[in-house]
Subunit: 354 residues, 2 copies
């Protein structure tokens, strides 16, 4: 690949492990402060996940894996039985932090399975396996993003790109999904301007995307979500690129609320519209987007903004995600290449390894 | 007409004049507090306009007119010359409050012209004329809204209506433009649910519309602007109705940023889309929406929300309005009836009085 991660970002990994410490970029401090915290206990890692000091599915997965590595390197257990008791307890504590984070369970189970397969090995070897596997989970995430970045930058048109929410470095171990594509384009000189939707109600665009892309020197303009249509009408957007929380077998996908509106606007203005996600985000067990359950969140998120009360106590509707039908989608950028329409057939091919 | 204002709202007029006092609903206190302030000096009225304790073009116009009435009733001028010096000074102070408020200049000039036509009358008669004309400006605004309300309610489908920004009682003397239509529908029992867009960046939907419609017992749900598309996709919106800042000869119209996005979404989902405005909002001197200048406002509005800082100091684009081409519009509800397509021809007919 053309670039290494260090060619693309000045940011460190948002989750790292070294010298018996889990290091996290504290996302609750951004954009006020860029602060890296070092955690030396499993309970601290669990608390950081729970309080969203680390957020974004891939970043949470890596943080949890490193939580197990931290256990392995700091436990005082003398026997293998003692060690395994402590391991399962750490596993449970980390697992019970966020109820719906698929990557969290996936990363924890990947390590648990490996440990259980190697129970006959000496204790020091088991510890080594855990730390190495956690590191591998983080490295693979960066690798996958790097591939998506290169694939995406090859097909996006040169010009002005609009994005929504945060699928950047902060949401992953490093680079991001959308973030990797934008960073490779920026390095190639083909990203002329980035439009950042603020992404109400939780403001991941204003708080996180604006901060991290500005940090990496990408020229950007922040707008409120309802300005996107006007910017497109004025001919100031050449492509739209968003992340995905779940992509199903026909190419329909769920993503942060507001994505569907952008898709409709893209169609109306003839603007190419892409989603970026690793293969692990694609759920071939669901046939259509109608099958994806939509989480409705706390009304307080809508009644407040950035901590300020902004509305009287009225009824609120607060869906966290929406579903965009595949007919609005130009292409799906994955870590195994770009999927074009017809999505149903081409996704099946991708999963069969053709 | 079927209803009187008092049948439609529990709110008092947002601007009133009696006993040498201008009474205003203090819009800077909403939604925290419903507070009516009484002003006894012209300077206080000017300050209230400047600090947006009163906002909304028609409400500002009436407040300024009442400012002149207040001058007429409280001046200590003994001679007509003294009186007129003070009158022009009050006129200037009120005029220099908001630079682009068309209704402000229109209301002040209407009274100034009448005074200048009656300079031969006795001083007491001139004072009486000023107070009566200011009252007439306010009364006419309520009358016009009442007519729009009845016309609009006749043509809107029964069901769930979505609105944006605030074109309600608070923006006018009473009832509102959109507000009158919603209130007549509510009284008729045909308004099943009102979807209120929060309307970033200044949140007129969350702060003002949610407050005033809730106050009048209209069932509503508040959403962030980027949820409107998803709500339409789910089949939960039967009509969309918005105000207008300026309508031009071909039916294109400028309104609060985000209106254009709603228009595109309405078309995609086959939902009827209306604007409501008095004839005074229609500017037949401009041929198309491309001729309407768009005000770009302070970046701080986007970087903050309800007083809280929400983003790092990055570049911002902050257009206050957008322009919706007439092809997206189902009908224009005016105080002289509903205008249907073809808008160019039918607006010309309306202005010729056919």
């Amino acid at each position: 690949m053309k670039y290494r991660p260090e060619d693309l970002t000045r940011l460190p990994r948002s989750v790292e492990y070294r010298e018996r410490t889990v290091y996290l970029i504290d996302q609750t401090a951004i954009p006020r402060e860029f602060r890296i915290i070092g955690l030396k206990k499993v309970d601290d890692v669990a608390r950081a996940i729970k309080t969203m000091q680390v957020r974004g599915a891939p970043a949470i997965g890596a943080a949890a894996a490193f939580g197990l590595a931290l256990y392995a390197n700091t436990t005082k257990a003398k026997t293998k039985d003692e060690f395994m008791d402590g391991f399962y307890s750490a596993y449970d504590r980390l697992k019970n932090t966020r109820p719906t984070a698929v990557n969290l369970f996936w990363a924890l189970n990947r390590i648990k399975k490996l440990v259980e397969e190697n129970l006959e090995s000496p204790l020091d070897e088991i510890k080594r396996i855990i730390v190495a596997e956690a590191q591998k989970i983080a490295d693979e995430d960066v690798e996958a993003n790097l591939r998506m970045g290169h694939y995406g930058a090859e097909i996006l048109p040169e010009g002005r790109v609009l994005t929504h929410c945060n699928a950047g470095s902060l949401a992953t171990v490093q680079l991001g999904t959308v973030g990797a594509v934008l960073r490779v384009m920026h390095r190639d000189g083909t990203l002329k301007l980035l439009w950042v939707d603020e992404t109400r109600p939780v403001l991941q665009g204003a708080r996180l995307s604006a901060w991290e892309y500005h940090y990496d020197g990408i020229p950007l303009k922040l707008i409120t979500d309802n300005m996107a249509g006007f910017v497109m009408q004025q001919g100031k957007v050449d492509a739209i690129i968003v992340g995905a929380d779940r992509i199903v077998a026909n190419g329909d996908f769920a993503n942060k609320i507001g994505t569907y509106t952008l898709a409709v606007l893209a169609k109306e203005h003839g603007i190419p519209f892409f989603t970026v996600a690793p293969l692990s985000t694609i759920d071939m067990s669901l046939k259509s987007g109608k099958d994806i359950p939509i989480e409705e969140r706390n009304p307080e998120e809508v009644l407040t903004c950035g901590g300020c009360k902004i509305a009287p106590d009225v009824d609120v509707y607060n869906p966290a995600f929406d579903v965009t039908p595949h007919k609005y989608l130009t292409g799906i950028i994955t870590d195994k290449g770009v999927v074009w329409p017809p999505f149903g057939r081409n996704l099946r091919k991708l999963f069969r390894g053709e």
